[in-house]
C-alpha cells in the first residue's frame, strides 16, 4: 500500500517547518522531502495543513473485553483516529483482567481484527488486580506488554508495590501507578476545598493523591525501578515528582487535559460530565500542572479517556460514575490551552504526546516523522473553528465537559501504519 501526501507542513528533526511530501510504503515512511517524484494516482494534497506524528496515548480505558457496553475496541479506536491518536494503550482493568499471557494474546488478536489504531497493553500488577499476588510479569512481557500497571486500582500495600518494582527491574519495564489513598478519599466525590463546602459535597483532599505519589516515588528509588505516576492533578504531586527526578528517581508522569483546562469551579452546577478521578482541582493546581508541563516535570499528556454509559452519568452528582470521553477532545483542548493561550512551541507540545510516550513505552519506531519509522500521522488544520459536539463522537461515551465549547483546529485525516483510517473532505 503506497501513499503520497503532498505539500504538507512538516516539522523536521531540528524543529524547522518545511513544506514537504511524504511517501509511504509498506506501513513505513520511505521518503520525506520537497516535491517528491512518485507517480501515484491517488494522493492527499495537504496544502496549508500540518502533518503531525500520530499521537500516543499512555492512559486510556479500552473497556474491551468485559465492558463493551461502555466502549469496545472498534469504537475506542475510531474515537482515537478522530482525535489524532494512532496508538492506544490498554489499561488492564478489563474483564478478564490483563494479568496473564493468554489475555494479552486474546486482546492482541481482537485488536488486529477490529482496531483502527495500534493497541499496546499494560499487564496487571497483580492477578485479577486483587492487590495481593504478583502476576506473571515475565511471561506477559514476552507476550508483548509494554508496561506493568495497577489499572487504576490503588488498593495494595507498599510491600507489594516494592516487590513488583524490584521484580520489574529484571525486565526494564516501567510500573504505572494511579495514586489514591482511599482511606483519605473516603466518600468524597470532588476536590475538597472552598467549592465542596459551597455546594455541600464531600471532598477528596489533594493529600489523597500526594501521599501515595510520595510513597511510590520512595519505593521506586529504593528498588532502582522505573515508576510512572499517571493522571496527576495536584500542585503537590508536581512538586514531589520534580524533586524525585532531581534526586535520581527513574520517575515519569502524565497528566490529562482536564487537569490543566478545568477546575473545581466548573462543578458549581453539579455537572456530572465534570466528575472525574482524580477530581478537578483548583486554579493553583492547574497553574502548577502547566508549569510542570513547561519545565519537563510532566513528561506526557494522556487523554485519560474513561468511558461510562450515559445512564450512569445522567443522575445525581454523588451517584454518578466517574469518567470522561476524552480521545476526541484531548489534543484540541491541550493545543488550545498550551500552544495558543500559553505560547508553548508546537514541537515542545507535540513531544508530550508523541516522542515522550514512544520513549516511555520503548517504541523506537513510533513518535516521529522520520524515514524508516512507522507511517503513523495525522493531518491537522490549525485554522479551522471547531465547536465540540459530543453527539458526533465515535466513542460510545457521547458526552463531554467541553460540549459546546469552540476550539481552534481540526483533525482532518489520520493514517495508521500507512493506511488512511480517517479522512474528511477538505
Amino acid at each position: 500500500m503506497r501513499l503520497l501526501i503532498k505539500n504538507a507542513s512538516v516539522f523536521d528533526e531540528s524543529g524547522s517547518l518545511d513544506i514537504s511530501d511524504i511517501f509511504i510504503d509498506y506501513g513505513e515512511i520511505v521518503e520525506i522531502g520537497p516535491k517528491l517524484n512518485y507517480d501515484i494516482p491517488e494522493y492527499i494534497d495537504a496544502k496549508g495543513k500540518y502533518v503531525f506524528p500520530g499521537l500516543i496515548d499512555v492512559s486510556c480505558k479500552i473497556c474491551d473485553p468485559g465492558f463493551e457496553y461502555k466502549e469496545d475496541i472498534a469504537t475506542v479506536s475510531k474515537s482515537a483516529i478522530k482525535g489524532g491518536f494512532t496508538t492506544l494503550t490498554a489499561s488492564p482493568d478489563t474483564n478478564p483482567v490483563i494479568d496473564d499471557k493468554t489475555v494479552v494474546k486474546y486482546i492482541d488478536n481482537k485488536a488486529k481484527n477490529l482496531s483502527y489504531v495500534n493497541i499496546y497493553q499494560y499487564g496487571g500488577m497483580t492477578k485479577g488486580l486483587n492487590g495481593t499476588q504478583m502476576s506473571e510479569v515475565g511471561q506477559m512481557k514476552q507476550a508483548g506488554v509494554v508496561a506493568i500497571s495497577d489499572g487504576g486500582k490503588a488498593d495494595y500495600d507498599a510491600s507489594l508495590l516494592s516487590n513488583v518494582l524490584k521484580y520489574s527491574t529484571m525486565f526494564d519495564i516501567p510500573v504505572i501507578t494511579f495514586c489514591e489513598d482511599k482511606s483519605i478519599s473516603g466518600a468524597g466525590v470532588m476536590n475538597k476545598g472552598i467549592i465542596s463546602t459551597e455546594v455541600g459535597l464531600r471532598g477528596i483532599p489533594r493529600e489523597s493523591e500526594e501521599v501515595v505519589v510520595a510513597r511510590n516515588l520512595l519505593l521506586a528509588k529504593y528498588a532502582g525501578a522505573r515508576i510512572h505516576i499517571t493522571n496527576i492533578s495536584t500542585k503537590g504531586s508536581v512538586w514531589l515528582i520534580r524533586e524525585a527526578k532531581k534526586n535520581g528517581v527513574k520517575a515519569t508522569c502524565d497528566t490529562c487535559p482536564h487537569y490543566f483546562t478545568l477546575t473545581e469551579e466548573d462543578l458549581r452546577g453539579y455537572g456530572t460530565f465534570f466528575k472525574v478521578k482524580p477530581p478537578l482541582r483548583t486554579k493553583e493546581d492547574v497553574e502548577a500542572v502547566i508549569e510542570g508541563i513547561f519545565d519537563g516535570t510532566i513528561d506526557m499528556v494522556s487523554s485519560g479517556h474513561s468511558p461510562e454509559t450515559i445512564e450512569r452519568k445522567m443522575t445525581d452528582f454523588e451517584n454518578a460514575a466517574y469518567g470522561i470521553s476524552s480521545l476526541e477532545t484531548a489534543f484540541l483542548v491541550s493545543y488550545n490551552c498550551l500552544v495558543l493561550e500559553r505560547g508553548m512551541g508546537i514541537m515542545d507540545f507535540l513531544k508530550k504526546l508523541t516522542v515522550n510516550p514512544a520513549k516511555f513505552l520503548n517504541l523506537p519506531e513510533k513518535g516521529g516523522l522520520q524515514v524508516g519509522m512507522s507511517a503513523d500521522m495525522f493531518i491537522f488544520d490549525a485554522h479551522a473553528e471547531n465547536k465540540i459536539d459530543p453527539s458526533t463522537f465515535a466513542s460510545k461515551a457521547k458526552f463531554s465537559p467541553y460540549s459546546g465549547k469552540t476550539v481552534k483546529g481540526k483533525v482532518l485525516g489520520t493514517i495508521v501504519q500507512g493506511r488512511i483510517m480517517y479522512l474528511q473532505e477538505f
Binding site: T126, M134, E136, S159, K166, M170, A223
Partner: protein
C-alpha cells in the same frame, strides 16, 4: 594443622586452611563409608543429641548415620517439645551438659539459634541450619564435591541460582567459596536476592544465561513452597520459565560444568529432569559426601584441639 574449635556454627570466620583440612579428613572418612562394615569406632562412648524439630529430613538421617558409623550413641530430641523459643535453648544446653551429652546437632527456624546454644552449652554444637542464616555442613559437602571434580577452588566460576534470599546454604557457600578464592555469582529474581549481597564479594545477575556464562559449577537452590512467597514471586511457572536449569542454560556454561542441588529437587522447576542423572549432575555424590563431612566434623570436634589419628591426617 590443629583444629581447635568447640563448635561448628558458621563458615563466616573459617579459614581456607581449616576448610581444606576438614575436606581432607572427610576424604578419608569416605573410605570408612565404602567398607562393608562401616565402623570406625573413634566416637565410642560419646553421645550425639540431634534437635531437628519435627522433621525427619534427609539431613538428619545423614547426621544419624555419620555418628553411627563412628560408634557414637545417637539420641533424638524433638525441638517442638522443648526448644520452642530461644530462651529455652539456653536451658536446654545446660540440661544436655548435665546428662553428659558430647554433641548437639541443631536445626532451628530462628537465625542465630545455633550460636546461642553453643554459647550456653559445654557440648560441641553443630549448626544443621539456623533460620535463613547458614547451613555450614551442607556447604562443606558441596565443597568436597567440587574439590573432587575440579581439584581446587581458586578462580573457579561458581553460579548460585534460585531463592538466595531464603537460602542458608547459599550464605554458607558464599562465605566459604569467596574465602577459598572462587568467583561467585548469584542469580535469581531481584525480589529473591538479598540487598547488598554484592558487598560479600559476589556478582548479581537477574538473567540466568548471563549469570551462568562459562561457569564451572552451578549450585541450584531449593524453592520454598509457593504459598510462602506472598508477593515476592508471581508463580513457580514463571520461575521455571526464567531460571530452570536445562540443557539450553548449560550450553552457556563450560562443557564440563557440574550441577548440584541441596535436595529434594522440584523436578522440572529448579532442574530439568533431563539433566538429573547425567554426568554433569552430581546430586548423588553430594549425598555420600554429606555423610563424610559430618563424620569428619564430629571427629575433629571430638579431639578438642588434640592431634588426630595419623590415618586421618
Amino acid at each position: 594443622m590443629k583444629f581447635t574449635r568447640k563448635d561448628f556454627i558458621s563458615l563466616k570466620d573459617v579459614s581456607s586452611g581449616e576448610i581444606n583440612y576438614i575436606l581432607k579428613v572427610a576424604e578419608t572418612m569416605k573410605h570408612v563409608i565404602a567398607q562393608k562394615n562401616k565402623r570406625a569406632a573413634i566416637l565410642n562412648g560419646k553421645s550425639v543429641i540431634t534437635l531437628f524439630g519435627n522433621t525427619l529430613s534427609r539431613n538428619k538421617i545423614s547426621y544419624d548415620l555419620a555418628a553411627g558409623y563412628l560408634g557414637a550413641n545417637v539420641v533424638e530430641m524433638k525441638l517442638g517439645d522443648e526448644g520452642g523459643d530461644l530462651g529455652n535453648l539456653i536451658d536446654l544446653g545446660r540440661i544436655i551438659d548435665q546428662m553428659g551429652g558430647d554433641f548437639i546437632i541443631i536445626r532451628h527456624p530462628m537465625s542465630g539459634s545455633a550460636k546461642l546454644l553453643a554459647e550456653s552449652a559445654l557440648a560441641c554444637v553443630i549448626n544443621a541450619g539456623d533460620g535463613i542464616n547458614e547451613n555450614p555442613t551442607q556447604s562443606l559437602l558441596d565443597l568436597l564435591t567440587i574439590k573432587e571434580q575440579k581439584g581446587g577452588f581458586k578462580n573457579l566460576k561458581v553460579s548460585i541460582i534460585g531463592d538466595v534470599m531464603h537460602s542458608r546454604v547459599a550464605r554458607s557457600n558464599i562465605w566459604a567459596l569467596t574465602t577459598l578464592g572462587a568467583r561467585v555469582s548469584v542469580i535469581g529474581p531481584p525480589t529473591l536476592i538479598p540487598d547488598f549481597i554484592d558487598s560479600l564479594g559476589v556478582k548479581i545477575f537477574y538473567n540466568a544465561y548471563e549469570g551462568v556464562e562459562s561457569a564451572d559449577v552451578i549450585l541450584s537452590l531449593k524453592l520454598q513452597p509457593e504459598r510462602q512467597y506472598g508477593s515476592l514471586m508471581p508463580s513457580t511457572n514463571e520461575y521455571r520459565n526464567l531460571f530452570k536449569i536445562d540443557s539450553e542454560m548449560l550450553s552457556y556454561a563450560k562443557p564440563d560444568v557440574i550441577v548440584m542441588h541441596p535436595g529434594p529437587i522440584n523436578r522440572g522447576i529448579e532442574i530439568s529432569s533431563q539433566i538429573i542423572g547425567t554426568k554433569n549432575c552430581l546430586i548423588d555424590d553430594q549425598i555420600t559426601n554429606g555423610v563424610a563431612v559430618r563424620m569428619a566434623l564430629l571427629y575433629l570436634l571430638s579431639m578438642g584441639g588434640n592431634p588426630i589419628n595419623e590415618a586421618f591426617n
